[in-house]
Symmetry: C2
Subunit: 245 residues, 2 copies
């Protein structure tokens, strides 16, 4: 085992309890925790003895280089991501940059991503085939996002939207609903979860028509059902198709 | 809080350590654990004092009814699923049947699904938009699966395949590669992980051309990259698009 070690750790939605046992173990033995300020604040209290370095949003490259550099200096470092570090997290960028630090061994520690954690609150919306699509066009052309939304809707996949809105992208969820609505009924069952596992956790079921005007923010995860998705006793369910009657 | 409680618990890929702290807590306080034989065997040793009921594959409806009935009788019951119970797990079917047991409160406990756990081993293959598609046509028409594969490939989504093969479906992965190959290059970066977090864990990177003849089984998770997916120092990476040069 290399002595120079960088862990890229998904802590799950935010609650300590939704972290894996492995993630908690790795964070405990890490000398330095690095991450976006919000995520570091979520876990800081559970790992009090460590040095914590939090960096603001939009500083991803700097944050990843810092983590690799600290690891290269011989510290055991964890890069902390919310959800799963491998799903819109820092895992990819760390591996892109890791070639510059050949002595550092990078290990990923998987976590519960928002698609799973939010689904558990709503019922079972992603219990059959689904697509995970981010509405952020900061790094992805909007036409590409549109094509993915269209193709997912066209093939009747459940769609889980990450980053459905931000201050700059107030109307993107409405736009996404319009794109999906080219193929799916306005009565399609949809759900929305906010602040999963954090203060202010809230969830709501609605139709695609209603979703277009629902207030989403960057801590919201959105589910657009397939044609098979239904509501059972107040829960959003996409059946796999088992026969039970 | 209702006294009649059924937890639907995702235990992650299989290792005790990849379970969430919450899942371990819920399983510890459950009086009865119910699940498919293979999954019950994975966790039985960690929760030795409990009654364990394991049922074979293909008995999903019976298994879910049994869990609901035991909970309705007043036992604290956990339905145990591998990965995340809400992704091709028993969460959906439990909620479909739960209406028959109105006294039972059903709570989902999210886990790390194979898409995340396998990705962590390969690198960061699903670090951008992706589709999760099961190749099992037991409950889904093959034409529907084909359309989803086509649409995912057409819109350059990374594709994560669950259930890529079984004894009955030996040639389905080859077929899926042919469908994806209508839109993606035969040199598309692909990856395959077997027995994640279990004995015999193995992983391999290959091209789409090679994937067609790769030996998959029902404990294999397959990743077909997008046009942007690359190999960095032996790891499969789908970049989000951060600029760092």
């Amino acid at each position: 085992m290399s002595e120079k070690k960088l862990y890229v750790v998904g802590i799950g939605p935010g609650e300590y309890e939704q972290m894996t046992i492995r993630a908690a173990g790795v964070l405990s033995k890490s000398q330095i925790l690095i991450g976006y300020t919000v995520y570091i604040d979520l876990i800081r209290e559970y790992f009090p003895a460590k040095e914590c370095v939090s960096t603001p949003m939009m500083k991803e490259v700097e944050r990843c280089r810092m983590a690799l550099e600290k690891a290269d200096q011989g510290h055991v470092v964890s890069m902390v991501c919310s959800g799963d570090a491998g799903i819109y997290g820092m895992a990819g960028l760390i591996l892109e940059l890791a070639g510059e630090y050949p002595q550092v061994e990078v290990e990923m520690v998987a976590g519960v991503t928002a698609a799973s954690a939010g689904a558990a609150l709503l019922g079972a919306p992603v219990c059959h085939d689904f697509a995970v699509i981010s509405l952020s066009d900061l790094l992805t052309p909007k036409e590409q996002i549109e094509k993915r939304l269209e193709c997912a809707a066209m093939s009747d996949l459940v769609i889980c939207l990450y980053n459905p809105a931000s201050r700059r992208r107030k109307d993107y969820l409405k736009w996404a609903c319009e794109v999906v609505g080219r193929y799916q009924s306005p009565d399609t069952v949809c759900g929305m979860v906010k602040n999963i596992g954090r203060e202010g956790q809230a969830m709501e079921l609605m139709t695609l028509r209603e979703l277009a005007d629902a207030p989403a923010d960057m801590f919201t995860t959105v589910y657009i059902g397939s044609s098979k998705t239904t509501v059972k006793n107040g829960r959003m369910v996409t059946p796999r198709g088992y026969r039970y009657v």
